[in-house]
Amino acid sequence: MYGMVMFVILTVFLAGLMVGRTPEYLGKKIESYEVKLAAITVLAPNAVILIFSAIAAVTTMGLSSLNNAGPHGLTEILYAFSSAAGNNGSAFAGLNANTIFYNCTLGITMLVGRFFIIVPVLAIAGSCAQKKTVPISSGTFMTDTLLFGVLLVGVIIIVAALTHFPSLALGPIVEHFLMQNGVAF
């Protein structure tokens, strides 16, 4: 939910710019402070996922836990870190996560994935609470419409896709194509 609100803020900001009005959400103006914090919440979890996955993919510490070959191994690593960042913490059975390396890195990922979202979200809440509520006018962009929903989903997909497309391409996507060709790992 709070992660979603952050995407809503970014989407509102973009939509506001596109209709030529300083963006507002629920009557609160979205300004540089909110955008900065929302950007941190989107940035931080993705950063740890990418960095730790990259380390795991090239070091013996990371690779020794893998039981599966080829792209499936990379998929397992990516899944473990993404899941940890999303505060789920599960991993594929093919990955032995009970090693010092994975316990530490997944632990850190989980902390970042939790507190680098919670703290900025609370800060945004505090800043918005102090702001004056802007009354609705016909120039106000409504956020309870299908159009906004589509835009929101679009922003989430594009941000997520753009961040992870390269690593996913080398993991699950290539695995998918290989599976179609009858190659499994």
């Binding site: 596109m18 990259a54 990379l74 896709a161 961040t163 690593s167 290539v174 290989l178 190659v183």
Partner: protein, 697 residues
């Protein structure tokens, strides 16, 4: 060559401007300037690193081309900024030239002395005669003159400037066309209006606006994400290569990674961001509105409530006689005759309109009355009455005609001993007031003749303008000193949403504060000194150039044409500014999808290849680009060229139509979102075909 024609000449692109912009683009390669724009700084650093690789390693035509296009990307962004600045600079130079060449005729103890205009001090007295340029800002303290203000307003019709309360402000750089005036200088050097304009058009003091800052943060965040994506990529590729047993990819080189990074970070909007901001200010200047800060220009797009002074803004300012309404038993001709006689010496527009109406409607010609025949009583603020005493040969035939507001005349006749005021006349006067007009009662020798209706003429087309503002989501509030009845009628005729009658300066300020306390952004248009507190308090204060010096100082925008309906364009410019940024950001991010589909298959195409030449990820090469090299290069070239292609859009701005936020968003999403997804697929494919055709790779 006058400044006016020079302004017209530079308003369109010309070759010289483009050449200047071209050289400026190279001058802007200074790292200290580049670092101000985080996105473009990454490109700059990338280009430097890529050049390093090019010179230290054995020559590669492919690396050379990538490096070349990376530099082009930086230069194109600089070029966009330089073009945007170019117009302003040319205008500023023309203005500076006119100032430095002016000599002032300084009055020292009644003796004239010629000094350069740049040496004038505050409170100096200068003389200006026909053909002289007024050396600096000041107030006319003696004389009257017609002044050509086209240098600052672009308006070629001369204006009258005279000593007194109103119309006494003169601006440095304007030209005296007739007569002689003495001006007291009110601004110290470097602080004049002309200096401010020069500073603004040179954008020396241009600050980033709040939305621009927020957007820069967002763009930086995107850049960091992509920086991480690209820097972690080699690790994933290395893993995959190890697992697949494929040979090391020849494309996992530093220049290719830099090219990928540059393609992904939002360079399109990053490169055009400052050009958009500069051109926004420039658009205002070309509409003859000087924004004291970029913040004000942007805030104008956000205005929720607009407070407008009635007189001169909504109405023409002068009330015109529209009808004679005689009292019972009095002929309309007699009323018209008396009204005309009493107004013959009245030089106010109202007075003249009475004479004209009598002539047009009742064929009464203006007569000449000599001073022996008549004594004119001019209107004074004390008596609030005007008229004429006509001395005829017989003393008893004296005609004493007076006209004035209903209340004033009633008091006047009561003083003269007549108590009963005809009921129908009172009724007519009330009706006139209800229509939004002003009743003037005419009395001759203590006999009430009737009423003249003075109509407040609402400006043509203003109703449509307010309708447009309403569509934009802006509430208009008319402020007037009139009574509630008159105000309501005019408000209805003009189509404003709300009005404030019998408003004092404190009332204006209170209303403004109240609106702001409710969270609205308030715009205020005014010209008088009594508007100063409200202009200063308003989020967007637009002062009329004809207004007093204090009013011009208090506002954060000055309308040189003094045409308040132009506010719509000011609001539109503010909105365009935001929309152009939003649209290009969306476009820039949407472009990335296509670039991924070009570069990722190129880098990873041979991975996990089972016997065949290309691996499974070649399936992602949906554009069927010729080779991995051509794919990387095409994406980089597209990324650079799109900046150039979008410069006109950045300078012109995205079109704004008041069709409501949802419709506007749908339209812009369709054009810049979906368009941003599709265009690069086509563009990259085309470039790929061209460079393969040219055998570049």
């Amino acid at each position: 060559m006058t400044t006016e024609t020079s302004m017209k000449r530079i308003s369109t692109f010309n070759n010289q401007m483009l050449v200047t912009a071209f050289t400026d683009a190279f001058k802007k390669l200074n790292p200290r300037l580049q670092v101000k724009n985080p996105v473009m700084f990454i490109v700059f650093v990338g280009a430097v690193v890529s050049t390093g690789v090019l010179v230290t390693e054995p020559f590669s035509g492919f690396v050379f081309q990538i490096t070349l296009w990376l530099w082009f990307t930086v230069l194109f962004a600089n070029f966009a900024e330089a073009v945007a600045e170019g117009r302003g600079k040319a205008q500023a130079n023309a203005l500076k030239k006119s100032r430095s060449q002016t000599t002032a005729r300084l009055l020292v103890g009644g003796v004239e002395k010629k000094v350069p205009a740049t040496e004038l001090q505050k409170d100096d007295m200068v003389v200006c005669e026909v053909g002289d340029l007024i050396p600096s800002d000041g107030v006319v303290i003696e004389g009257i003159a017609s002044v050509d203000e086209s240098a600052i307003t672009g308006e070629s019709a001369p204006v009258i400037r005279e000593s007194g309360e109103q119309r006494s402000n003169v601006t440095g750089g304007t030209k005296v066309l007739s007569d002689r005036i003495v001006v007291r200088i009110t601004s110290s050097q470097g602080n004049t209006f002309l200096d401010k304009i020069i500073g603004l058009v040179e954008s020396a003091k241009r600050q980033k606006t709040p939305n621009e800052i927020a957007l820069t943060i967002l763009l930086s965040a995107f850049s960091i994400i992509f920086l991480l994506t690209v820097t972690t990529l080699p690790a994933f590729v290395q893993y995959s290569e190890g697992r697949a047993g494929s040979p090391e990819s020849t494309l996992m080189t530093l220049p290719v990674l830099i090219a990928l990074l540059v393609c992904l970070i939002p360079t399109t909007i990053g490169g055009l961001l400052s050009a958009i901001g500069i051109s926004g200010m420039d658009r205002l200047i070309r509409k003859n509105v000087i924004a004291i800060s970029g913040r004000a220009a942007e805030a104008a797009g956000d205005v929720d409530v607009l407070l407008l002074d009635k007189t001169g803004t909504i109405t023409l300012g002068n009330r015109m006689a529209s009808e004679f309404l005689p009292a019972p038993g009095v002929s309309v001709e007699r009323l018209a005759d008396a009204a005309q006689l009493s107004s013959l010496a009245d030089e106010t527009p109202e007075g003249r309109s009475i004479v004209v109406l009598a002539k047009e409607k009742h064929n009464l010609r203006g007569r000449n009355l000599t001073e022996q025949e008549a004594t004119f009583i001019p209107f004074s603020a004390n008596t609030r009455i005007s008229g004429v005493d006509i001395h005829l040969t017989h003393a008893q035939d004296r005609r004493i005609i007076r006209k004035g507001a209903f209340e004033t005349i009633r008091q006047y006749v009561e003083q003269q001993g007549r108590v009963a005021f005809p009921q129908p006349v009172q009724k007519t006067a009330e009706e006139i007031a209800r229509r939004g007009s002003t009743p003037l009662v005419v009395v001759e020798n203590n006999e009430i003749l009737g009423t003249i209706e003075l109509k407040d003429i609402v400006k043509g087309g203003i109703k449509e303008r307010f309708a447009q503002l309403r569509q934009m989501g802006i509430t208009t509030v008319m402020i007037t000193g009139d009574n509630a009845l008159t105000a309501a009628a005019i408000a209805a005729e003009a189509g404003v949403d709300d009005f404030m009658a019998e408003a004092t300066p404190e009332d204006k300020l209170n209303r403004l504060r109240q609106e702001q306390a409710e969270g609205r952004l308030v715009g205020m248009i005014g010209d008088g000194t009594n508007d100063v507190p409200a202009l200063a308090q308003a989020d967007v204060g637009i002062a009329m150039n004809t207004g007093t010096q204090a009013a011009r100082e208090a506002g954060n925008m000055v309308d040189l044409d003094s045409n308040p309906t132009k506010l719509i364009e000011v609001v539109e410019t503010g909105k365009k500014l935001l929309m152009t940024r939003g649209a290009l950001t969306t476009f820039s991010i949407a472009n990335d999808v296509a670039k991924y589909f070009a570069i990722i298959p190129a880098i990873a195409a041979t991975l996990y290849a089972v016997g065949a030449k290309s691996g499974p990820l070649a399936a992602l090469n949906i554009m069927q680009l010729a080779s991995p090299q051509s794919a990387v290069l095409s994406a980089t070239i597209f990324n650079a060229l799109i900046i150039i292609a979008l410069i006109p859009l950045a300078l012109r701005g995205v079109e704004y139509k008041p069709i409501g936020a949802a419709a506007l968003l749908r339209k812009n999403l369709l054009i810049y979102g979906i368009g941003g997804l599709i265009v690069p697929f086509i563009g990259i494919k085309l470039i790929d075909m061209i460079i393969v055709g040219l055998h570049w790779v």
